[in-house]
Symmetry: C2
Subunit: 335 residues, 2 copies
């Protein structure tokens, strides 16, 4: 069997993770058992939520245990199958972990149709990121045509899709992102109606200008000061969708929550959290719509694909928290 | 015309109000204009929300302006009418302000049926407090039989009704209140299933014991640490109803918000604010149900009626923030 490089969780980070929080080991790729397939992992999905999985706290999935392979979704190629569900050479998606090879239950694999879009896009716009944007925006946020939708982390994997869906559905799409370059990209390439650069200061004034009719739906991936500022700009009956809180994941202690939460009362607004894995029933429709919008060109996709060896995962992952990625961050696993 | 004592807003408080934030003046009771009635104010409704009306900030009603009579709901007696809508001697309810006499549009007056309950109860269980509890719990919180409903400020005017409605609807009613006496009252008199004394410390442990199956609905009148602690104990799909935040109203600066708000995501929960004045359409049904439960004895009412002159309003009002009232705080206006 080939050599299998693997990143294991070595210790729980306090604050921002460092490479020392993982250990790298090499052993032999496993033999697939009956019903399993052996998958060579070609692409890793790098997501802010992975930071939360490193903490030993109750969440929507169990934490990764010390000594376990770091959890990650990926796209790979079946190189051996002991199941009728998949065949050698199939391109598949699953939760493979940060390693070169995974022996997994073949029944749990999702086939990847690369005629729709290249493999990395199946981790972004056609993967959990795109599904999160779709369900969060349309089922939880429920914008109506002409309403204003504000998206934070708008240049990220989920936000960039959420804002575009808002635009496709006839809403005014306003993105919040860090830096002029990202903001220009949102407006010029993705067709957002306006973008707010939170690094340029005067967030509240910028938001007032970008959302003159207040905010009907806020799709929040960031939390912190951005959430608190948008709370001051809600329209009556606004919906806040809590998709993530990347500004909070590396805090040593629980950071202060949104001071302005009583604006929920003033504005008769709702703040709702959701977890995409509760919404499997919506995936076929969501995937069909996303694929159609991709095909028509209404929806743009962008993956920031970084080629690196599996032992370089920590460095690539940490780009997320420096805001270095544009669109979906994907690690292509070099041999 | 008789002398009309009136409390005017004199200055905007920083932190807890003091009597100096109001000025007392006496003038002659006004002449009612065509279509108006002159009402002698017999009872004032004293509510935590009145503190928020003293701030010069955007809220669901305009702030009281400096020099204006302090806004308050009340029950009174029509002593002169220039409208066919009410007659001399009628007992009526309205927003009369902190004064002995008010000339008001007779069409906006609500008749008070004292055969249902004594007049002060029409400011509590049969008034805005009871309606807030009813709509907030049943329409926003939507508890199902067997679910756990936690109410903060449970010994207050809204909370004491909300918890009882939860019990009537077959939910497990858990109250959070300050002090053993209030907690005993909730369980022994009002039929709550359990009560948590936040002043006794160990709030999280007490809550774990009182709500072993976690919290499906949290009806929050208090905010602050209590909200943050309940966030850690949510059941999946929980609903948090933001009815008020008495712990926050006197803060000098915006206090930190709920640190644990990301539990909304973990628990797929919703936090919603509402304002009772949006729900007029529900009032007839709500009033009918509340009156029926009162008549059957399923719903207990309790008003803390303080007899005092109108110039003593500041001292009576401030009892709210010392947690001194049990049930609805009402000031009966002595001559």
């Amino acid at each position: 069997m080939p050599t299998n490089g693997r990143c294991l969780l070595a210790s729980r980070p306090v604050g921002l993770p460092t490479p020392a929080n993982w250990s790298y080991v090499e052993d032999e790729a496993p033999e697939p058992a009956e019903g399993e397939a052996l998958v060579r992992v070609d692409y890793l999905s790098l997501d802010p939520a992975m930071r939360a999985w490193m903490n030993d706290v109750r969440s929507y999935v169990p934490p990764v245990q010390i000594g376990e392979v770091m959890r990650a979704a990926g796209v790979g190629t079946v190189i051996a199958s002991r199941s009728g569900a998949v065949r050698e050479g199939d391109c598949v998606q699953g939760v493979f972990g940060v390693q070169n090879y995974a022996a997994v239950d073949a029944g749990g694999l999702t086939p990847v149709d690369t005629s729709l879009a290249p493999a990395p896009a199946h981790l972004g716009v056609l993967g959990i990121s795109g599904l999160t944007a779709y369900v969060g925006l349309l089922d939880i946020g429920r914008p109506e045509p002409g309403q204003t939708v504000v998206v934070s982390g708008a240049a990220g994997s989920v936000g960039s899709v959420a804002g575009q869906i808002a635009r496709i559905k006839g809403a005014r799409a306003v993105g919040i992102a860090g830096g002029r370059e990202k903001c220009d990209w949102l407006v010029d390439e993705l067709g957002f109606d306006a973008a707010v650069d939170y690094k340029a200061g005067e967030l509240r004034a910028q938001l007032r200008e970008a959302a003159p009719d207040r905010v009907d739906v806020f799709f929040d991936n960031v939390g912190g000061e951005i959430l608190d500022t948008v709370l001051l700009r809600l329209a009556r009956g606004a919906r806040i969708v809590i998709s993530g809180a990347i500004s909070q994941y590396n805090a040593d202690a629980p950071p202060p929550g949104p001071s302005n939460y009583m604006q929920l009362l003033v504005s008769r607004a709702t703040m709702a959290g959701f977890v995409i894995f509760d919404h499997f029933a919506r995936f076929p429709q969501a995937r069909a719509d996303l694929a159609e919008w991709l095909a028509s060109g209404e929806l743009k996709h962008h993956e920031d694909v970084v080629h690196a060896r599996v032992d370089q995962f920590p460095e690539v992952f940490l780009r997320l928290f420096r805001g270095e990625n544009l669109g979906k961050l994907v690690q292509a696993l070099d041999a």
